[in-house]
Point group: C2
Chain length 187, copies 2
């Protein structure tokens, strides 16, 4: 296996996942993750700003997917429905990784530092979604609330999906369940 | 002024606020905060686990207030209304500090590290609220969603309040606005 290559970031991600899963987040160093991936510690920082970021390598792509999907939503769609559809689209790509996505979520949930980073990634996504909603004509308060509620619904649906490894239902089903429950509880 | 006293945690909080407000979060050390408060660096860690925690000295009290208020909600109250009422109660105590509360929020918003810590405090609150809702008979999915939506509504209402320093409206007004908007957008 080449010590360098276009897949170095992926090797670092896989190494981090494996070592953290085995030992716990606090017991793994950047040097160990890099070594396990066949790289020098210094090289790690070419790819990731800190130890946490390696677990969030896909976060920017995920946000991009959601934002682009929301931009393409029909003008007539109610803001919450447009947001839920965009999150369903990107969540489907994510959950197509199956148990690999579940294992990553368990790693993230195992560490407060990782959960904090996950929360701020979701906040970044929420701000981006609210921006698109405003561009589509929503008022400030509505845009912020709808984006936040959409993010909360996604987090919940994704957690339900993570906790159901053998499920025959796809991610869209979990999002629909969540949307229906929101309507019941908040209408 | 006594070098030691029951108000040491408050002096550390005030010192942290002042120094971070003047220089920025990353430019202030624990040693400087402690010195400004008339304490040794080591003493800081008697009160707070890390540099971030000093800005969240009131978070546990806030969570306690919300949880206790929710426990006392009438059995007949719809979950979302019970949660909103509990958050309005605790938020009113918080916003009674007026511009001091606004300045603290600006300090927290100025730093990614502090925003991350704030988000995980809100997550802790959300988990606690969902627990109370389950104790009151709500299903798992409903309890989680309602707690998350309530937290999102509170965050939004508090931000609106923070951004309106001269407002004649009390915090309850901001919460009501947010509740009405949620109903319009999600019903």
């Amino acid at each position: 296996m080449a010590r360098w290559g276009p897949d170095a970031d992926n090797r670092l991600y896989q190494s981090a996942m494996q070592l953290i899963f085995e030992r716990g987040y606090d017991q793994v160093t950047v040097a160990e993750i890099a070594e396990h991936a066949g790289l020098k510690k210094r090289s790690f920082f070419r790819y990731f700003a800190d130890k946490r970021e390696v677990l969030f390598a896909g976060a920017a792509d995920f946000e991009h997917e959601v934002v682009e999907a929301l931009k393409k939503a029909p003008d007539t769609a109610k803001p919450i429905d447009a947001v839920m559809a965009a999150l369903t689209h990107a969540g489907t790509i994510l959950t197509n990784y199956g148990d690999a996505a579940r294992q990553r979520q368990r790693v993230v949930t195992s560490s407060m530092e990782l959960r904090e980073r996950e929360l701020i990634k979701m906040e970044s996504l929420t701000v981006a979604l609210a921006g698109v909603l405003r561009d589509r004509g929503a008022e400030d308060l509505s845009a912020t609330l709808v984006a936040q509620v959409g993010a909360a619904a996604f987090t919940t649906a994704f957690r339900e999906w993570t906790d159901a490894p053998g499920t025959a239902q796809d991610f869209a089903w979990f999002m629909t369940q969540t949307r229906d429950r929101l309507r019941d509880e908040l209408g």
